[in-house]
């Protein structure tokens, strides 16, 4: 895979929070239609990687290229306009705005004539949101908020979705719903980076896996070979998948 062909190419990325080095020499490439699971224990740098690609956190070194263009220093709003949607950890919604206003904020990126149709479509895909369209989104249930976050991300037909812990704090049934929605996107050929706490679901869902440890890429490869590596990275070098 070459950087010129890849949809997203991250090369030797370094990120600092003040004096602390959060990411060190991280490289990653995605082709169109790829689904990559980024895994690692708490503090490994998964969310930092997502935030840096989306332009929220500045890179201290290295490059991020999207569709062959360098977007390393590009502001978050311009990265979004380029077609990268970051669905942040927690809930990617505006709690003080209503459901309709939340979707309208996302739809504003579309040409004026398409906005109404796109908003109606979002409500059709997630009927619960249509019922609660006038409610402030901070008052929605966790699952509804995640649906809203997804609908905001999908409304403009993104080229790359970075889903950061979408299942965090959700009931099992709602987690299924989130993965169903992501599955539909995968089937539609949308390129995705999935950062997930449910490791096995993420591995089943993804085509590739990247394991981060202390801000560095500890391992990357096909999900089938990831189990032992992940146990080692999550639980320490002595961990054994057989339990011996």
């Amino acid at each position: 895979m070459t950087a010129a062909k890849a949809l997203l190419s991250v090369q030797a990325l370094n990120v600092r929070y003040g004096p602390a080095l959060a990411l060190q020499n991280v490289s990653l490439e995605l082709n169109r239609g790829d689904v990559v699971a980024v895994l690692g224990s708490n503090g490994a740098g998964k969310s930092t990687l997502a935030r840096t690609i989306s332009g929220l956190v500045p890179a201290a070194g290295g490059t991020v290229a999207f569709e062959g263009k360098d977007i390393t220093r590009r502001a978050a709003h311009r990265v979004r306009r380029d077609g990268i949607v970051y669905l942040p950890e927690g809930r990617g919604i505006f709690p003080a705005l209503t459901v309709t206003e939340n979707i309208r904020m996302a739809a504003d990126l579309l040409p004026r004539g398409q906005r109404r149709h796109a908003m109606d479509e979002a409500m059709e895909v997630f009927p619960n949101l249509a019922i609660r369209r006038g409610v402030k989104s901070g008052l929605l249930s966790g699952g509804e908020q995640q649906m809203l976050s997804l609908s905001r991300g999908l409304i403009t037909g993104p080229k790359l979705i970075i889903a950061d812990e979408m299942s965090l704090g959700l009931a099992p049934k709602l987690v299924d719903m989130v993965f169903d929605a992501l599955g539909r996107l995968k089937a539609a050929g949308v390129t995705m980076i999935i950062i997930e706490q449910f490791v096995h679901r993420a591995l089943k869902f993804a085509d590739q896996c990247v394991v981060l440890s202390r801000g560095q890429v500890a391992w990357q490869g096909a999900p089938e070979g990831a189990d032992q590596e992940i146990l080692a990275r999550y639980l320490g070098e002595g961990a054994d998948v057989t339990g011996d």
């Binding site: 600092r16 929070y17 003040g18 004096p19 969310s47 935030r51 989306s54 332009g55 929220l56 956190v57 502001a75 978050a76 709003h77 311009r78 979004r80 306009r81 949607v85 970051y86 942040p88 950890e89 927690g90 990617g92 919604i93 505006f94 709690p95 003080a96 705005l97 206003e101 309208r104 904020m105 996302a106 504003d108 990126l109 905001r152």
Partner: protein, 676 residues
Amino acid sequence: MLGYIFAGIALGSIYAIAASGLVITYISSGVLNFAFGSMAYFLARFYYFLNTQEHWGAVPSVIVAVGLAGPGLGAFLYLVLFRYLRMASSLIKIVSTIGVSVALPPAASLFFGGQTITTAPGLSPTPERVYTIFGAVASLDEIIAFACVLAVVIIGTLVLRLTGVGLRVRAMVDTPALTSLSGVNPSVISVGVWMVSTTLAGLAGVLAAPSTGLTPDGMTALMASAFAALVAARLRSLPAAVGVAMGMGILTDVIQKYLPVNSSLTNAILTSIPFFVIAAFLIIYLAFSRQVNEAASTGGALDHAIRPQGGSAAMAKSSASAAVVAARSGWSPYMLGPVVIIAIVALLPILLSGYWLTLLGTGLAFAVIFLSFTMVVGEGGMIWLCQASFAAIGAIGTAQLATSHGMNPLAAVLIAALIATPAGVVIGLLTIRLGNLYVALVTLTFGLLADTLIFTRNIFYQQGLGVPVTRPAFLVSDRNFAYFALAVFIVISLIVVNLRRSTTGLALAAVRYSEPGARTIGLSVLSMKLLVAAIATFVAALGGGLLALNLQSAVPTSYSTFTGLIWLAVLVTVGVRSITAAVLAGVAFTLLPGVFQTYLPAAWGNVPTLLFGLGAVLVAINPDGQVAVNARQFQSLIVRLAERRNRRSGTGPPDPAPAGGTPPPGLAGLVGKATR
């Protein structure tokens, strides 16, 4: 009664406009604009220039001065300063806006002339029309003020609720990070908000000028009232801020019906209202939540997650270096710089004479006052804006004890400083559970209250002449006095250095860097902060006493809170954590204006203040000030030179241990224990 209510509604309307301007900039950009009063003054002064000096009509004047210059000034200040401040620490945000507040009045003097303005016109034509409504009289200016606030509230509500721009502003208030992730450029929203806010400042300034006077102090008082409404609204709620501001305006006028006319008591009560409103609301909030902190006031979880600890990258870098400096003990080559600077300053009394020697003595007394900022702001991390009031207590206390009670002047300086210290402890106790912004607001309001309630009393004020003080016999010579002030400065500097290197100092550095982080490792710094507050108050008062001795009189107006803001701006420009900076700032603060007054045209007299203000603005880029920047550059130069010399002589640093090599014995022992 109705007449008082009409007047109160008009006053409340002005407060409400000012409070609206402050709230919208705070919630949309995270910056509490301490320059609001100066912006109001600048634009109102421009209106006066057009309307009175250039004889334009009121309508074209207000269109140009408020409608065009207001947004222009807002956009300019956003582009050159405010856009850098979103991620900065509270101290940097406050000091930068203070820099603007210090720079704008002299800029107004340069542009529009420096004449004293006794009466300022309002928006109504003269002679002012009056109307009788329900049997009570209301002036056209009062009606215009009310109409303006109605227009602001109605237009603001319609724009925010019904337009796409309003939706984006509300989204930005909710979470700026997510707004960016929605493809909206936050800078465009922010610049628009700053333009609106500055226009509101201009409108409030023009409306307030006829009653408060067209002076920076008058506009600062207007801002203090708006700040009270802001605290009541916990910095965020626009309707609450407008409501409380209207209430304060009505209370201020209605209460006058029951108070004696032209009485000092009436004046004292009226000027105390903002302070008591702040105190009342803070007590209520503290009773409910035990802590009032602005940290939770801006942005959502994502915004907090991406905000670097210790402020911006520059701030974090400087904080880290400060922590390293704090950890050193004993003699270090890095101390050479301060020693050399102080040695050079020690030569100045021999080299200078006459006028310049007097200025040097004054500068060294200021250096002592500046050390109080170094302690309370630089080390303690508490943004106190009332150090000038403590210096005033020191000065007038010295004068009263020495002149009115015949005490030895030096003993008087010491006792006056001791008298001031409990005031600092009380302020410390009151503000210890407040966030940085609230501390700044409370101390600013306290300073303004002290200006009006205490320092204008004739026993201290003496028709503007102040109370004379005589120096002790051995300090009559300016040269001796300069050396004495320098000796006091050095003794206090050693205390500061000792504090910085103590466990308390390290704990304070940890809190400055990250208060939540410090709490999680069990650091309770309340008592340490109180100790620093007490010492800093003592030092400020000591400096005030020395200043009074040097000038041989204590004039309270020389220690106004606004003047104190200029002092802070000067010190921060040079470096708020550096002892060298304190002495350089003190000397520059007096010698630089001396140079301008002596060698340049009189019209340039305000330029030093302008420069000091602009210097404080630059802390957005160099949070530790110019001395720290230069010191770091000098240190890295020395390190580079040393490395080059070592390379040439073949005595470079030892090679690092190979990866996977034998761990140090202590660590090996631990590993052994852990694995056994």
